[in-house]
Symmetry: C2
DNA sequence: GTGATACGGAACGGTTCAGTTGCGGAACTA
DNA sequence: TAGTTCCGCAACTGAACCGTTCCGTATCAC
């Protein structure tokens, strides 16, 4: 049982085997891809190990030779998933945000981050490992990119320092998730445009809250 | 088969039966309550008919005598669910929003709307009936209350007419859903307070976007 | 070569769940 | 009273899925 500690990484580990055929690394990738693809399509709860194997053109034994089950495979697939990391730098906050919008709405054929988000949603509250991987590979990268964009806008003197950055940064993903999940509508460029022009920019351009003389009562 | 058309409403229908014991209306309510309670606890996908029956102290046959299965029962339970409908009217926008925040964070023992929202999330994209009921009983009432609050603020001259009301109104539920689902954190009063003071009020108090001279490039 | 192991595929037992049926008893109509 | 239907409860069938174990074949170390 050469199971490594934290994460499930066995493939091409150069372990203590003495002979016989090696694990085929291409099978790892195919299975992880299939897992993410199906996850985005049907969601975590309805995802079955059989479907992943079939979709990858593999046998179930090939899966269980690598992972202990669906949960571990999906977590590993998420951790192997490399999203867009570089923050755009067009020279203006509006331009940067528009660039991010383009990325988010570009259907690249790859399993869309947002679809994976929706597919995982229901399982997150009850699986800490899943939630951690989700946080590390989907939420945090997006948060970092957005935070960078705002930092640069501040450095340019374009906007005043944002008081509650975490809250402002969560506005876009929150509205995207809400639209996908609750409103069951597409994320088209017009929608993201309206978020940028109608919420984000007014909020950060207005500067700190003026807190008018409205008595708090 | 006295199945009515659109919605599943059979109980106390005074149908064409000629003798025998009547359907017990208290069983309807108990089963609907149990369905919503379990839905909020474990989510739609893991919800089982057996669990609903047991939780309500009923037999499965009692369920199938009324509904065709889990989907129809949950939809009916949602449609029977009556949420808070009255918009608060404290005299100020901030006061009204705070009042709404109090409601949202008050754990009344009844299945929380937000928990039901989370529990339904994964099933919404694939069940139109479920989505329609969800929209009618959870999303739209909250939207209407919020819209009313903003309308009154405009009528008082407290704020300028909000350009994109639908977007602004979806900010609170979107951020709440995001916090519950993605961040897996409680909806405490401080969180809602930060939404109100950090997002909503700055946004509507700032008035229409000034659209600074930043060139669109 | 020889033995060990991975591969896709199929089959198997075990578990969970949906939906149905039968039981004894209760509640209703006629 | 007699007949009908609901009630909780339990048992049952069939389907879906999990995880394991084979098979025949392919690929590796020695």
């Amino acid at each position: 049982m050469t199971i490594s500690g934290g994460r499930a990484e066995r493939t091409v580990e150069g372990g203590d085997r003495h002979g016989g055929r090696h694990l085929d690394a291409s099978r790892d990738a195919a299975l992880r891809d299939a897992a993410l693809r199906l996850l985005a399509q049907i969601g975590y709860d309805r995802l079955t190990v059989d479907a992943i194997a079939t979709s990858a053109g593999a046998g179930k034994a090939t899966i269980y030779r690598r992972w202990s089950g669906k949960a571990e495979l999906v977590v590993d697939a998420l951790l192997s998933h490399k999203p867009h990391l570089e923050a755009p730098d067009t020279g203006s906050l509006r331009g940067d945000l528009r660039e991010l919008a383009l990325r988010a709405s570009a259907h690249t054929g790859e399993p869309l981050d947002s679809s994976v988000m929706v597919g995982l949603a229901s399982a997150l509250p009850r699986d800490p490992d899943l939630r951690a991987a989700f946080e590390e590979r989907l939420v945090e990268p997006h948060r970092r990119v957005l935070a960078t964009v705002f930092e640069r806008a501040v450095a340019r003197g374009e906007i005043a320092p944002v008081a509650n950055v975490d809250l402002v940064v969560s506005l876009i993903p929150a509205l995207v998730l809400y639209r996908l999940l609750v409103q069951t509508q597409e994320i088209d460029p017009a929608f993201i445009q309206s978020i940028i022009e109608g919420v984000i920019l007014p909020l950060v351009l207005a500067g700190p809250v003026s807190l008018q003389s409205t008595p708090t009562h």
